[in-house]
Assembly symmetry: none
Homo-oligomer: 222 residues x 4
Amino acid sequence: MKRPATSPATETTAAPTEGSKAGVRDHAKQEKFQRILDAAVQVIAENGYFNSPVSAIAERAGVADGTIYLYFKSKDHVLRSALDVAFERFHARVKAMLAETGDPRAQLENMARMQLETVAANRPLAILMQTEVRQSAKFYAEFSQHHMVAYMAMMRGVIRAGQEKGVFRAEISDALAAHCIFGALDELVGSWVFSGREFDPQSAAASVLGILLQGMNRKDGE
Amino acid sequence: MKRPATSPATETTAAPTEGSKAGVRDHAKQEKFQRILDAAVQVIAENGYFNSPVSAIAERAGVADGTIYLYFKSKDHVLRSALDVAFERFHARVKAMLAETGDPRAQLENMARMQLETVAANRPLAILMQTEVRQSAKFYAEFSQHHMVAYMAMMRGVIRAGQEKGVFRAEISDALAAHCIFGALDELVGSWVFSGREFDPQSAAASVLGILLQGMNRKDGE
Amino acid sequence: MKRPATSPATETTAAPTEGSKAGVRDHAKQEKFQRILDAAVQVIAENGYFNSPVSAIAERAGVADGTIYLYFKSKDHVLRSALDVAFERFHARVKAMLAETGDPRAQLENMARMQLETVAANRPLAILMQTEVRQSAKFYAEFSQHHMVAYMAMMRGVIRAGQEKGVFRAEISDALAAHCIFGALDELVGSWVFSGREFDPQSAAASVLGILLQGMNRKDGE
Amino acid sequence: MKRPATSPATETTAAPTEGSKAGVRDHAKQEKFQRILDAAVQVIAENGYFNSPVSAIAERAGVADGTIYLYFKSKDHVLRSALDVAFERFHARVKAMLAETGDPRAQLENMARMQLETVAANRPLAILMQTEVRQSAKFYAEFSQHHMVAYMAMMRGVIRAGQEKGVFRAEISDALAAHCIFGALDELVGSWVFSGREFDPQSAAASVLGILLQGMNRKDGE
DNA sequence: CATGAATGAGCGTTCATTCAT
DNA sequence: GATGAATGAACGCTCATTCAT
């Protein structure tokens, strides 16, 4: 089947109806839900969305093909859910970090480090983020609306706070700066993910922010 | 058919054999070759590679399905060719610009401007560059080997030259800086391409480089 | 997919995995397996392998096109299986007969009769044996290796036994004689199959062996 | 295209219209006609009819694809012509031999030898005779009507003459005996053609006829 | 006559999805 | 709930044949 022209609004991918009969049942359901998601991430990272039959995902998850459709409306929604879930977790962790960090520069560096760490911790998921999110303009636009905008807003808030505190130059557009930071890191992730090279999130984040905060220009007197 | 495991090395996508019979024939062939490429770029930009049947590309190009296969070995090669041709043109233009520009800062800004201009000039192609290049890890790795490495090398050369002339800080890694610049611009392109917003390449390039060269930090005494 | 250059060795065409869940399921599977085989034999006998779309076989079998591929790896394997199954049954029956027949002359005549009977009992299958086995040199060579060699070996064994018992001339090559008998019968089958004429296997077998055993020459004193 | 349901009556495959302008032209035409036929025999023997694109035949013959259709109505007719021409030549040579040979036994042995020689002289053609003639029941039936019947009639005539002269047993059916002889030889040819083994037509013919004339039975007193 | 680019019907095969068990 | 056999639409690609040059 082709991706339907009208995409069904994402529905924030709630895990299957919870809160009914027994907690045991719920737990079993949740567990299978997650197993399918993990299998999908692995299989799709290896072969790409369109070269990953639902049957391959089912097999990796250890369930029957039909079972997938008890948990997800379509193959498409499996991918959406995987990305949604992953992003929401990341988002929550960043939000928590921001709440307990004061200095804008430290906040930015932590965000950078967490972005790279997330990728380093789950390579298949990183591959999905680099490839399948962009599998089509429509999908990407949708994903961006849901998640990227929210993430960028957080980053822009940090930058604006820094500007108000006088640590960042006030004449810089917060939106532009956020794009620059995210883009630089994302590019790094891409080159890492596809080459397979190792790298240290901590120091890589520091290096990138070193460039972006201090600039490439040699200062007079250096 | 699935994407073949061993892809036949790209072959630099020469347009069909030229230089024989009549110039007329050659011209007609070249024209049809290009028409198919353009159609492919449009259709794939709209629907994504896997949701774009060859028949749709053929229809858009105004040729029969089978005709595609007189010019390209496979659907896969149509996409490769489109990307190869586009990149090679871009690469050549950048190279020419570098040859007639002396100042490293001006060189970087021109590169940035040209990257954004290219995208502004051909939105469907920009979409392809943002999406289909990454359609699979394999494809991306291959494309990167062919083109990105070459482009990045050019940029790193400019940065090193600037470091030697003393305009850029010497302690910065040229590779990392190149990734940051490219990534920042690419991210900008992405957000533009998928939102449909307008923007001015010239000033956008200047703004981005403003951040990357001078840094976000407020200088003492400002 | 194209016919793979290396065909995967026939695998003796086991019917789908049996012996698990319920005997009911197994039986249903076996029944469909056989139905597809029968449909294939009929359709291919009528039109030839290459003029028999899989869809035509599926239709005749009363299943969907895709269902064929749940039972067979490829169109190619449907044909192989049909021939393999048919030959193995024939082979087994001949073997059983040989075990309970003593006289070499009677053994030969029974083999001849059974060859003709088999054909008379299933005309479409006979057509396949006369045509599609030879559809390509490769296929034929493969089939011969698997089945013809085994059958010829049985016949040569009978002939050698007859020679040792002194009923057949010792100076005759058993291999050559076997070829002569089989060829004479096969030619008869061919002329029958394609003309549609009726004939009686019993008496035809007797007549052919009458010629081959006693020779065409008039004996002195006759 | 599929083989048309109504086969166009064969038309005895006359070479293109001759007897007009100049003998030179005619000769050139004949030569190209033959070149295409030879190419077809080679290519089809190697790959089978349905795996032999017209373009492959054209290439082997050194002509353009379209040129084939100036000499033959369809791909189908190229094959028919090749077989017709080959058979007619063989038929003529046998006929000439029969005219200058008196003894029925010698006639039969010469026919056998010539059948094997023909095959030994042109292996690709032999492969065609063993395989493509049988590509479908329809084709085979048609070919048989045209050629086999004629050839069998000659052989039956020889056998009947032998019976009248008292050298062959009178109670044998001439038709059956002819089938036996032809079938035995044809089987031999088949086993040779597909195995690639060498063999000597002269002695093989003698051996086969040795069996068929004298019989396999040991005579009393031997 | 000869060419070979163009056509488009047709094929083998895959796989998302359904539904009887 | 879970299964997995069955479906059939859809696809990439081939190639016999035509026809403008």
